[in-house]
């Protein structure tokens, strides 16, 4: 540990600039401590004091010309590493009709961020886990993170809303910093845990810290930890929250909550985003832009036909059960770092620590299943690959199957996985793989919105963009050797078709396959010709039903669960299901009655997936992200949450 005179603080700026670093640091802007470009020590908020309370933040001048009078303002490293709005790629329609996609990747110059607190370094680690932790890594986030040198400060005077001691993320800086400063009246005790930090330190005129100064830091940190303005008990919280999804408190807090998204915007770990597809008026030039989103917006959980979280109580519960609940299962840590921002910047002053304390009062415990581990993280720039429609098959009035050739070919085309299919200027939609291999993809698409309308209107020769495939495939290896019951509703047959083809091709492993398929009407039956062919296959047994029969229809009428009986569900069978959630719920129940256990029942989930890589947070479902941990799940993985309103 070294000692730096207060008067020499400008030398730190000189040292950082000598390395070519742009310096960001705390400074007073519009009545708050903000993180902004600064030139020297004179821009730092010396002598400023903040008064923070629920929904309340005021700055005033006064006291000593030191830096210990204030804690965090609304900004954090999130702004630096994960900007609120950025272009991900540009797309153009070339003269030959082909699409050209080019990534937009930042080229961040070297930077230094000053005055970062322990809570925010913990938050940066947690955001990194979400954006770079696997199976995909966001290269834009990494580039910005790696370009920054962090000059952290130990908090000696925590604020009224601070509770990092409870979350074990402060007040002492223990991670993520290149330099750590602890302020004393006469100067700063400086530690340099990294090589980059030591290089900066070497440029400064410092002296070794005396033993009593080193001891003083330890004392100051102990004292700070004992002087937190708030506290929270996170122990066992995930199990309590998920065991209390009907707790009366959710409704009580929803009476105050404005669902405005301020809490998530200032939270240094919240990472949810959405995307837009701006274009020129002729549509020939387009881009995809990512911007911060919030689980408090309606659109966050919206899929065609409706939203999963219409009520404010659903949204608050979603946020809290993720932040301090499912987050632990997903990332091994709570998503709360005790910075208090969500309390200060909530317009109506909802206090997370108070809500947690209230929710702890109650009954109910639910264990959360662990999500699958994603060992490696491959770079994912989120840029589609150019592809061409080679064939269009009309399946029904509003459903077509596109055959798509991807110029570069694709790895990992397996039934159950999905691709992001895009049209520049219109949008990207997740579409399951209904057939194909590395050279050719089949996507069966129902026209339910603007993007799917446009996709369904494509003709052979038209260009599209393809990203993927993503997600988890049907576990055919695990299913082999037993009878298999495939239950499909409507368009739900699409993600199952590839699996059915594979099982037909491997009769030794799949000697008895039952397909129970329900469509709205005979005209809505998908893949009619292929189904007729399957009727000739000895290992395949077809059971069809429609909701509304036409006069010529001689088969079953009614819901698909009525097809499930001892004949179609043989003893020892496993099951695969895809359809509307309500249909899947009744199907699972019926299958359980017929002896198919949860762990041998596989379902595929639909949520509002935009990035498909776990970055955008929109398909977060309990401990999972549907895009990367699913969309195929065994039912025992999701039983604890399945059908729960608001998820």
């Amino acid at each position: 540990m070294q000692f730096l005179e207060r008067a020499a603080l400008d030398a730190l700026f000189d040292a950082l600039r000598a390395e070519g670093r742009a310096v960001l640091g705390p400074t007073v802007v519009d009545g708050a401590i903000r993180l902004a470009p600064i030139d020297g020590a004179q821009d730092l908020p010396a002598g400023w004091t903040d008064a923070q309370g629920p929904g309340h933040y005021r700055l005033r001048r006064g006291g000593d010309a030191t830096f210990d009078g204030y804690v965090v303002g609304p900004d954090s490293l999130k702004q630096v590493f994960f900007p609120s709005k950025e272009t991900l790629y540009r797309a153009e329609r070339r003269a030959d009709g082909k699409l050209g996609f080019s990534p937009v990747l930042p080229d961040p110059g070297a930077s230094a961020v000053l005055g970062v607190r322990a809570c925010d370094l913990a938050a940066a680690r947690i955001q990194r886990a979400a954006l770079e932790g696997g199976p995909y890594a966001e290269p834009r986030h990494r580039a910005r993170r790696e370009a920054a040198l962090i000059v952290a400060v130990n908090c000696t005077r925590p604020g009224a809303l601070c509770f990092c001691a409870s979350t074990e993320t402060g007040p002492r800086v223990t991670e993520g910093a290149d330099l750590v400063l602890t302020e004393r009246p006469d100067g700063f005790l400086v530690e340099a845990p990294t090589q980059a930090g030591r290089a900066v330190l070497a440029r400064l005129d410092t002296r070794p810290a005396a033993a009593d100064e080193v001891a003083w830091v330890d004392d100051a940190m102990r004292e700070a930890a004992a002087n937190m303005g708030r506290e929270v008990d996170l122990d066992g919280l995930p199990e309590q929250l998920f065991g209390r999804l009907d707790h009366a408190r959710w409704k009580i807090v929803a009476e105050r909550c404005l669902a405005c998204g301020n809490c998530t915007s200032v939270c240094p770990t919240c990472f949810c985003s959405t995307s837009e597809h701006p274009s020129s008026i002729d549509g020939d030039e387009a881009s995809r832009v990512r911007l911060w989103d919030s689980c408090f917006t309606e659109e966050h959980a919206y899929i065609h036909g409706g939203g999963f979280r219409p009520r404010t109580e659903d949204r608050y519960r979603q946020w809290l059960t993720h932040k301090v609940g499912a987050w632990v299962a997903q990332f091994g840590t709570s998503g709360c770092v005790g910075c208090g921002r969500c309390i200060a910047w909530c317009p109506v002053g909802i206090d997370l620590t108070e809500e947690i304390a209230a929710l702890r009062q109650g009954e109910g415990i639910a264990a959360l299943p662990a999500p699958p581990a994603h060992a490696c993280a491959t770079d994912e720039d989120l840029v589609p690959r150019a592809a061409t429609v080679t064939r269009v098959e009309r399946e029904s009035d509003d459903v077509v199957t596109l055959h798509v050739a991807v110029d570069e070919g694709l790895q990992g085309v397996l039934p159950g996985r999905f691709c992001q299919v895009s049209l520049p200027g219109i949008g990207e939609v997740p579409i399951s793989i209904s057939g194909g291999d590395g050279a050719l993809l089949e996507h069966t698409i129902r026209a339910v919105g603007r993007a799917t309308d446009a996709l369904c209107a494509l003709s052979p020769g038209d260009a599209v963009g393809i990203r993927g495939p993503y997600g988890r495939a049907w576990p055919l290896e695990a299913l082999a050797g037993r009878p298999v019951v495939v239950v499909a509703g409507g368009i739900g047959l699409a993600p199952l078709r590839g699996a059915l083809r594979s099982m037909i091709a491997r009769p030794d492993e799949f000697p008895e396959v039952h397909l129970c398929y329900g469509a709205r009407s005979p005209a809505d039956v998908l893949y009619a010709k292929e189904l007729l062919g399957w009727m000739e296959v000895p290992t395949m047994h077809l059971h069809l039903t429609v909701d509304h029969a036409s006069p010529a229809w001689l088969g079953h009428v009614g819901v698909v669960t009525r097809l499930l009986d001892a004949r179609s569900v043989p003893a020892g069978a496993s099951a695969m299901i895809c359809g509307p959630e309500i249909m899947m719920r009744f199907t699972v129940e019926r299958l359980a009655q017929l002896g198919v256990p949860d762990e041998r029942t596989w379902v595929t989930m639909e949520r509002n997936m935009q990035c498909a890589t776990g970055f955008c947070g929109r398909c977060q479902y309990g401990p999972y992200f549907v895009c990367k941990d699913g969309p195929v799940f065994s039912f025992d993985q999701i039983r604890f949450l399945f059908g729960e309103e608001g998820y």
Binding site: A32, R256, D282, P347
Partner: protein, 259 residues
Amino acid sequence: MSARPRLGIFKMASCDGCQLQLVGCEDELLAVAGALDIAFFAVATSKKDDGGRYDLALVEGSVSNEEQLAHLLDIRARSDFLVTIGACATSGGIQALRNWRDVDEMIRVVYATPSYIDTLATSTPIADHVPVDFELRGCPIDKGQLVELITAFLVGRRPAIRDESVCMECKRAGATCVLVAKGDPCLGPITHAGCGAICPRFGRGCYGCFGPKERAAASALAAHLASGGVPAEALVRKLRGFTAWAPAFRDASDALDEG
């Protein structure tokens, strides 16, 4: 598209300010004019309504008299995609303040010759009278959103017009919250985004000219502001501005008024 889609821009009771936003789209106006056949736009061209069909109709203003209502029904019948633009068209506008008053009495007090005045007792949004395909909020509407709407219509995408709070835009823009840091009563948390948080970015509270966002908890915000010392009358005035008749603001202000 072989023929260019026909665009008509119509007005009811309004100040023309929203139409002028299109004229003000200097950079994009030529592209818009190239992509669309601007068949009727009284503010900018001398062409008369030829009685034909419109692929896209932009309707400004509220329904304030019988003549406007008849005109609106006619436009709707001749338009494939009808978009209301601005606070008047989407909520009834500032002139909807009369909906709380006795119109006959006001006419007698204000006008020298009350018999010249032919008006309905209320000013109401377009969607109260005909089906509306999309609403563009604001007083006035935002140029960028207007261009996005037209582009999205032409290209065939869902317009990137987000029904979220002004706070989302405010935070993305890196503005300091005027409610929390200055105690300025700001309607941002309950107001539909689209303005780019222009008022908070210039240090003043939002006055709700884009109208309520979905699930606007106007009463909850009002209760909080009241607990901070803002008098009920001031809250009523705050909610009864350019979008006073929008249900979420109307109901909350009525509750305060009665309360």
